[in-house]
């Protein structure tokens, strides 16, 4: 999340607020009848006069004390009162929406709303409309940050519960596709999508959907993951026709964008159970690609092929060193470790802190100094 401090160095976590804080000076109980857009605190609403608000018990010397707006305190004072009395009423239900608007990450409120949905036998189709609006609002209202994905799991979980109760997934794939069209890698959206597909067996068009996303962005790792998900839970990868189709698909994408890590990871990921060397002709195809479409990912894949084939070729060691020292130097420590492991596996003694490759640099880089 991004938090606003008084300092100008911070950007505001923008929040859509359709209601403005009340002009405290001229609150009159009946005013909301005359001017429906005027916000009235719950403490001033006649219909709530029977309920004693419950202030938050932070204790005498609070820590991490939030300077709540008057509106926030007011709504939550009444939420706490409802919770305390375990009130099951329409007014309680309406208040939960206000509480959610103020903090969509308050899982206690969401839970209470679900209790009320059932206790009051609310129309779940109305609830679907509500939760749709809430979820669709979010990307526009909040600067989406890594933390917000964890905090805002509550609305998505709520939607799943409602879909389950209704036992009606009809809108879901389209709804999620819409969310993904704005943020194609949204983790919770994919989570919800996988649940819907598995629960209601909606596999039929999913591979097509995945392909359309990969058309748009061949680097969308979430889409590659979904591809793996669909195939592994439908046809599986062991059918040679499927395996060959998938390999062709990967190599085609790799030719288009050789430095796309997702495509290489997928190629390895789908074959690793049976072994990379189990696929005839694959090594040759990759070696061919090396001439014109080389990348650190291709080299790593070659290394993995040789490893899987249990080949003792010095090629493996050369690739390790090439990656460690030149092509993938950010991962030097890792490649050197793999290189040392190779040597020790093949009975060549190695100093585990040997940071120098065993193949002389002059062999690897004839024109470059060490």
């Amino acid at each position: 999340m991004s938090a606003v401090e008084e300092s100008s160095n911070d950007s505001v976590e923008v929040k859509e607020d359709s209601e403005f804080d009340a002009e405290a000076e001229d609150q009159l109980g009946d005013d909301h009848v005359l001017d429906p857009t005027r916000y009235i605190f719950y403490r001033d609403r006649k219909e709530w006069a029977d309920l004693e608000p419950v202030p938050q018990d932070d204790g005498p010397n609070p820590v991490v004390k939030i300077a709540y707006s008057e509106k926030f305190s007011d709504v939550y004072d009444y939420f706490r009162a409802l919770l305390k009395n375990n009130e099951r009423s329409d007014r309680a239900f309406a208040l939960t929406a206000e509480a959610i608007e103020l903090n969509a990450a308050n899982y206690t409120v969401w839970h209470y709303r679900r209790v009320l949905l059932q206790a009051l036998s609310k129309d779940l189709r109305d609830e679907m409309r509500y939760i749709t609006a809430i979820i669709e609002e979010q990307p526009k209202n909040y600067q989406v940050t890594c933390l917000s994905t964890w905090r805002l799991s509550s609305p998505r979980h709520h939607r799943r519960m409602v879909v389950e109760w209704l036992n009606n997934p009809a809108e879901e794939l389209e709804f999620i596709a819409d969310i993904l069209s704005q943020d194609a890698k949204n983790y919770h959206a994919w989570q919800h999508r996988q649940w819907v597909i598995q629960e209601y067996k909606l596999w039929d068009n999913e591979l097509e959907f995945v392909e359309s996303l990969l058309e748009e962005d061949v680097r969308n790792n979430s889409a590659w993951n979904q591809r793996h998900f669909v195939i592994s839970l439908t046809t599986g990868f062991s059918d040679p026709t499927i395996a060959e189709r998938e390999i062709q698909y990967c190599l085609k994408q790799i030719r288009k964008a050789p430095h796309n890590e997702s495509a290489w990871n997928y190629l390895k990921g789908m074959l690793q159970d049976r072994g990379l060397s189990s696929q005839p002709g694959l090594l040759e195809r990759v070696l061919e690609l090396k001439e014109t479409h080389c990348s650190p990912y291709l080299l790593a894949f070659l290394f993995d092929c040789y490893e899987d084939a249990l080949e003792n070729s010095s090629q493996k060691e050369n690739i390790c060193n090439l990656l460690a020292l030149e092509k993938d130097a950010i991962r030097k420590e890792y490649w050197l470790f793999l290189g040392r492991s190779l040597k020790s596996k093949h009975g060549i003694s190695g100093n585990s802190d040997d940071l120098e490759p065993s193949v002389p640099a002059s062999e690897l880089f004839p024109t470059e100094p060490l």
């Binding site: 999340m1 991004s2 938090a3 606003v4 401090e5 300092s7 160095n9 911070d10 976590e13 929040k15 018990d57 932070d58 204790g59 010397n61 609070p62 820590v63 991490v64 004390k65 939030i66 300077a67 709540y68 903090n103 990450a105 308050n106 899982y107 206690t108 839970h111 909040y142 940050t145 933390l147 964890w150 905090r151 979980h157 799943r160 983790y187 994919w190 996988q194 748009e216 962005d217 680097r219 969308n220 790792n221 979430s222 993951n225 430095h259 796309n260 890590e261 997702s262 990921g269 789908m270 690793q272 990348s295 030097k332 420590e333 890792y334 470790f337 040392r340 020790s344 585990s352 802190d353």
Partner: protein, 451 residues
């Protein structure tokens, strides 16, 4: 530190060559990545102009002021974290302990009393007073109390009720929901395992089938997802792996595949880590991702790996420190995701935690430091499983292991309550979780005596 400091990797001639290769194919992913790289380039270029001698500096005083204030008061922008206040306590207290800033005893006591108000009458801790218990604030509250480490802090935790709470969120398939009526994901297993071991309420049946469930989260990429089937993600990978380490089952993962996945998450240009393949760098992954390397190092060591380095983790420690110090600090205090983002306490905590991991290598009796920039940049070491300082881990374990494990009358097959203690109950030294004999903490003590 005499003589010229080591030149910065990001200022080397070869560094620009590490920028993203888009193969002439523009997609949203490549456009976003290039945008970030340009902003990093800008930061580096400004840095170069201002500083004749590259000595990145951790803005200790500024961060301290930011943290000190936040521990007491937060603006209304924090309304969105009103259900995460124990987290705010943890993020701030852990940041302060990494900076080796003492927490005044009055404040510490106030934190204890506040967290006591966040404790649910039915067990576990909630996001704020009067809210429902939830595994995430439970994890945060227990960690915060262990950082404080006083008897007052430890005694806040109602261990019997905490165990009740853990049972109440345990699912038949081995997973845990985050709260009653809530969602399942792999974070919950980590939160549960962390608090159960620190407070010594671990019973054999509590994590039955949890290992199997977590293992299902390791996917074709080698990392772990939030629930089985999803994309591998740094936060979830850390939680799943750390949970398995706590349960002593990390060897059941495909460690080699996991290692390959996590090292591949370090960005060649930025130096920091991304959360998922083909996504953007983010300072918080300095901990979630880089923090996996110490866990894997130890796991591989236990598996008999003989070629592990005795000085370095298997990621580029300098590059990560450069990213954090040059790109993730707000000049008025606090740390952040990437240039252009605003500071917050979550990023402050995890950027500093990642910086600590990058500065300290420790394995068995070894401790090797690599401090980028001034010696004053040095942070306290952090425990890679719990992410609180190792001495606080040991202290908490020592304290709670003197207390009996709460009664097992929840379980049908435990011996009667009348007889002597069930020998199956883990009060035996050798059954203590691995962290008890983890000499990372003794390593940390060694480092401290050097200064």
């Amino acid at each position: 530190m005499d003589g010229l400091p080591t030149p910065l990797r990001c200022l080397s001639e070869c560094h620009p060559a590490e920028m993203f290769t888009d193969d002439g194919v523009d997609t949203v992913t490549s456009l976003e990545q290039k945008k970030v790289e340009r902003s990093i380039e800008e930061v580096i270029s400004v840095y170069k102009q201002i500083h004749s001698l590259p000595q990145p500096t951790l803005l200790r005083d500024q961060h301290y002021q930011y943290l000190k204030k936040g521990l007491r008061h937060l603006s209304d922008a924090y309304e969105c974290l009103d259900a995460s206040r124990p987290w705010l306590c943890f993020w701030i207290l852990h940041s302060l302990e990494l900076l080796e800033e003492p927490i005044p005893s009055a404040v510490a006591s106030d934190v204890c009393q506040f967290l006591a108000r966040c404790q649910s009458p039915t067990g576990g801790f909630a996001g704020g007073p009067g809210q429902h218990a939830h595994l995430a604030p439970t994890y945060a509250a227990v960690n915060a109390l262990c950082i404080i480490g006083t008897d007052e802090a430890y005694s806040v935790i109602d261990r019997e009720k905490l165990l009740d709470f853990l049972w109440s969120v345990k699912q038949p398939d081995g997973s845990f929901v985050m709260h009653v009526g809530g969602e399942v994901d792999v974070r919950s297993a980590y939160c549960a395992a962390s608090v159960a071991t620190l407070t010594n309420i671990l019973t054999p049946k509590l994590f039955e089938d949890t290992t199997t469930w977590i293992l299902r989260c390791q996917n074709w990429e080698g990392g772990l997802s939030g629930v089985p089937g999803l994309e591998a993600h740094g936060g979830y990978t850390f939680c799943g792996t750390a949970a398995l380490v706590i349960l002593g089952k990390e060897h059941m993962l495909d460690l080699k595949a996991l290692l390959r996945w996590v090292v591949s998450r370090q960005m060649r240009f930025e130096g920091g880590f991304q959360g998922r393949c083909n996504k953007l760098v983010d300072g918080c992954y300095s901990f979630w991702q880089a923090g996996l390397l110490p866990l894997l190092h130890r796991a591989l060591f236990k598996e008999g790996e003989s070629e592990l380095s005795r000085q370095r983790w298997m990621f580029e420690q300098r590059a990560l420190q450069e990213y954090i110090l040059l790109c993730c600090q707000n000049p008025t205090g606090g740390l952040l995701d990437k240039p252009g983002k605003s500071r917050d306490f979550y990023h402050t905590c995890y950027c500093l935690s990642g910086l600590s991991i990058a500065q300290h290598f420790g394995n068995m009796d070894l401790h090797h430091e690599l401090i980028l920039g001034k010696e004053e940049n040095r942070l306290a070491p952090t425990h890679p499983v719990y992410n609180i300082c190792p001495d606080k881990v040991s202290q908490a374990l020592q304290h709670f292991h003197r207390l009996p494990v709460p009664g097992d009358d929840r379980q049908p097959d435990i011996a009667s309550a009348y007889g002597p203690a069930d020998p199956g109950n883990s009060r035996n030294q050798k059954d203590l979780p691995w962290c008890c004999d983890d000499t990372l903490s003794s390593g940390a003590k060694k480092a401290e005596t050097c200064h």
